[in-house]
């Protein structure tokens, strides 16, 4: 993990965790993009041999601890989503940027729905459309995150 500047991967993942818990005004908070999902997905598509399902699961578990949800909920959702992304990394890589962000939108909605289903199974939460707002912002975030992370990857020659 740490060879070939792998520490940079860890650093970006940590930054995404911090972005995910950064305090924000309550109106913007419902639109907070899924930073962790977007960053993990970039690495899973760019370097499937380095960042895999287990990494995603660990990130999800950290998210669980940070958000105070039942342990394993975000972890399971994260692992499933990244499994689908890294299984199709060759197709996704060949898409144009906006096509990729559509794929990210679909995967992010899957992520949120898995989290919702598990929560629904555990407690009596009711579905609100606002739970899916982050999908829109994640789709908007994807091209920028993609370009920035690709620049980082090329600059530090992470393989």
């Amino acid at each position: 993990m740490l060879a070939h500047n792998g520490i940079i991967i860890l650093l970006t993942l940590l930054l995404s965790l911090i972005a995910a818990i950064m305090p924000m005004p309550i109106t913007l908070d419902t639109f907070r993009p899924d930073w962790v999902l977007v960053v993990t997905m970039y690495w899973a598509i760019a370097l499937p041999s380095r960042v895999n399902v287990i990494t995603a699961w660990v990130m999800g578990l950290l998210l669980d601890i940070l958000l105070g949800s039942t342990l394993g909920v975000h972890a399971a959702a994260m692992a499933t989503t990244i499994f689908i992304a890294s299984g199709n990394f060759q197709k996704i890589r060949n898409f144009s940027l906006w096509q990729q962000s559509l794929v990210v939108g679909v995967l992010a909605s899957l992520f949120h729905l898995i989290v919702f289903w598990l929560q629904r199974f555990l407690t009596d939460v009711v579905f609100l459309p606002s739970y899916l707002y982050p999908v829109l912002t994640s789709m908007v975030l994807w091209p920028w995150a993609f370009l920035l992370l690709r620049k980082t990857r090329q600059h530090f020659k992470i393989k």
Binding site: A20, I26, T30, G68, T70, V73, A79, G87, V115
Partner: protein
Amino acid sequence: MNPIFKHGPSAQHRLILVLCCSMLLIFFDHKMHSFDTARGYMQSMVSPLQYIANAPKQILNWTVENLASRKKLVAENQHYKSQQLIFNEQAMQLDILRSENARLRSLLASPVRPEVKKMVAEILAVDTDPYSHQILINKGLNDDVYEGQPVIDELGVVGQVLHAGATNSRILLISDVSHAIPLRIQRNGVRLIASGSGNIRRLIVNHVPHSTDIKEGDVLVTSGLGGKFPEGYPVAKVNFVQKNETRAFAQVYAEPIAQIDRLRYMLLLWPEPVEAFSTSEVQSKSAGKE
């Protein structure tokens, strides 16, 4: 280098492995509560991340406080002075009432209510997930915070401590779906239970018979039953009552009095444990003899 032949287990096996781990974690965390103590340690472990995430807001707050204009400071000062005058007057009244209350209570041979220990805590305003209403504060086990401890703000009850870490702890708000709090109506003392609805501005008052004397505008205060929350702190104001006879119970909603979405400073309370009542009673009796 991308290896042609991959090492280690295949992606499917990894997925099945981690999903099994997730299921086990969910089961042990949700059903068995096996991680209640471990959560405290995990909370302490990730707290550096939370402090870093909170730093920009702290810096902004600091700059805003330091760059406040003179005019604003003067206005604030004036406001505080007038407030203090009012509070001083009320404190004088309170002293008289307290001694009178203690005298009456000793006449009735019921225990004198002890002073509760309090501590101010600041919110770490760290985001939580939309399915549960929780916040993080900057006091933990090092400050004797314990699980289930009541937390109030300047207006009313906010919630209780869910997990206590070493330097910070997580608070479950009264508006969370899994939270319920024993209450009574301040006006007539009818006992009720209100549970959270997942909506920050609404509590649902459960199992209210149609004949109950409850109306919009009633203030609900803690009843002190259940032993978690001390008696008499305001919690919510009734804002919707519908007595539809086709339903088993009246539909009653209340709005929390505490400004749950605008919290900054909170008070942690240490209510006297129940067994301490007997000792305080003995003390008050011996004080009476002297």
